[in-house]
């Protein structure tokens, strides 16, 4: 069976409408990627990394500038109709549909674009509304829904057509913990359904979401794939190094912390409300800790806690990209 997704030297360049409006932007730069059937695959990267462009090409909304992309064995540029029959897409923060229609009517309308018979469409819609705890909302007008309810409806819209491959572009963006949990849980159950051979390609910039959900993850930045492996193997890339988290009283001057010998990467978050600075170090040499402590104390800050942490995807990302998401 053909892979769910296969790209070769996939490149996408956006040109400005007029030359004076700026330079061309290379959103994807010679990307080679294979996603096997049955995988829950994550594309992890910051805003502007090229994740959404990748999904737009795979879902036939954009043409590649160079290279090829195949979905379910079909070329997205030439056999786009065959691709469309097999896919669907959901984006976070999407406001699709019509506010005057009810939730059930909206979902039915979108199912009609896939030619689904009424009895099948309504059965699936009702089942999914039940699963998402939205049955009581089915006859409510869409414009009355909360953001979370609306996103749940969007997720149902994407899955109700029973695609072979679904593209999820930041599906939990801006949602509260409960709504995100319901959606994540559904995605995992859907892709793991026995013999269904379903594939999910998920883009996110939530590291924990990618870690929790994905079989494999590709880290993308500047239009290039920097690493692609299972979350476990990706974390091994930074296992040789040590990650330390240091909470100190609010520290204004953090200069030269990153240049201490043995420090490979250094990030920090200031919380002025709690009067706290969280420092995070990836060290190649643990003896650097004493130099860090000395420097922190020398700047007049008090150490509140010191923790040695297991590597996270964020550490992997920082190692690969050389900076955090923020």
């Amino acid at each position: 069976m053909q892979p769910a997704v296969e790209t070769k030297s996939l490149t996408r360049v956006f040109h400005p409408k007029k030359k004076k409006e700026g330079k061309s932007v290379t959103a994807l730069d010679s990307v080679d990627l294979t996603v096997e059937r049955g995988e829950l695959f994550g594309l992890l990267g910051p805003n502007g990394a090229g994740k959404t462009t990748m999904l737009k090409i795979l879902s036939t909304l954009l043409l590649p500038t160079k290279g090829t992309a195949h979905v379910a064995g079909y070329d997205v540029a030439k056999d786009f109709y065959e691709v469309r029959r097999r896919i669907n897409m959901i984006s976070g923060g999407e406001i699709s549909g019509y506010g005057l229609l009810t939730v059930r009517e909206n979902l039915w309308m979108f199912s009609q674009f896939y030619g689904i018979r009424n009895e099948i469409a309504f059965r699936r819609i009702d089942e999914m509304l039940e699963l998402f705890g939205m049955t009581d909302k089915k006859n409510e007008k869409v414009r009355t829904l909360s953001t979370g309810q609306r996103q749940k409806m969007n997720v149902i819209r994407g899955f109700v057509t029973d695609p072979e491959i679904i593209f999820l572009d930041e599906p939990t963006l801006g949602l509260d913990v409960n709504a995100s949990r319901v959606i994540r849980s559904y995605i995992v159950d859907w892709v793991r359904k026995k013999d269904a051979n379903r594939t999910v390609l998920l883009t996110t910039h939530y590291m924990a979401e990618a870690d929790e959900l994905c079989d494999r993850i590709a880290i993308i930045d500047g239009g290039k794939i920097l690493a692609c492996d299972t979350p476990k193997n990706l974390k091994k890339l930074v296992r040789m190094n040590r990650t330390f988290k240091l909470d100190v009283t609010l520290m204004q001057d953090k200069s030269s912390l990153g240049s201490i010998k043995g420090v490979e990467n250094f990030t920090f978050i200031d919380d002025s409300e709690k009067e706290l600075t969280s420092l995070k170090f990836v060290l190649t040499d643990e003896s650097a800790v004493s130099d860090i402590v000395s420097l922190v104390l020398g700047r007049g800050a008090k150490i509140l806690s010191l923790q040695k942490t297991e590597p996270t995807l964020e550490d992997v990302f920082i190692k690969m990209v050389g900076r955090g998401f923020e």
Partner: protein, 274 residues
Amino acid sequence: MTETWLLRNLRAVRGRAYPRIVGANRELSWVFFDVTLPLLTVAAYAYIYKFMNAPSELIGFVILGGAMTAFWLNILWSMASQLYWEKETGNLSLFMIAPISRMSILAGMAVGGLFFTTLRAASTMIIGVVVFGIALDMSQPLMLISVFVVTMIALYGMGMMFASLYLMFGREAYHVSNLMTEPIYLASGFYFPVKLLGFWAAAGASIIPITLGLDALRQLFYPVTGTQYQFLSADIELAILAVLCLVFILLSKLSLDYMEKLGKQTGRLTLRWQ
């Protein structure tokens, strides 16, 4: 073309027509904005004709024209701008990734818009006829239906073409809509027989299907006065309208294909800020 493909597209037409057929009638404010307000314009013209002791058929002309303005406004402000709004709300990309012909989406919009507007136009027409006590000749029902149906297909074909063009031109297209409202009321003879503009002006205005459709309907509803003021005979107008149907539907398909190609090349289909 397989049966499955055809069925899928017919279902898509039904699906896209639904929000306009059902959803748009859920708020009863349309009775005021889409029926009562146009009736006020019609009444103004009707009283001018009354004041001038013009034949009552001319008041019928105005009522018919007033009812037809609903279709023209629907084309300009709903049909033509709809794809642009669908892009802004994020629906367009969902339409585009669906395994259907894009013409089915436009056809659904047209069918829904036609139903929605016919309801409003018929209300204006009925109330106008009752209030001003105007008689209508219904002796040629088949011809009446043919002219109305062919006019609407040509008109909504034009609207489908506009939808793609407006999407390509973005917000600028709103100026076109503004420019095409009152001037077309004048050029197409919504409130008077278009013949009065002279042959060449009327011929130029005939590119808007409603010009010929309205002239033909007036001839059919008012055989004596309508024929006296006719631009061309109703038969010829019907034939021209049939040609316009084909032309506009073909042009709408071509412009839609071009718009999709351009969108996929430049990203303008899916990127809201472009």
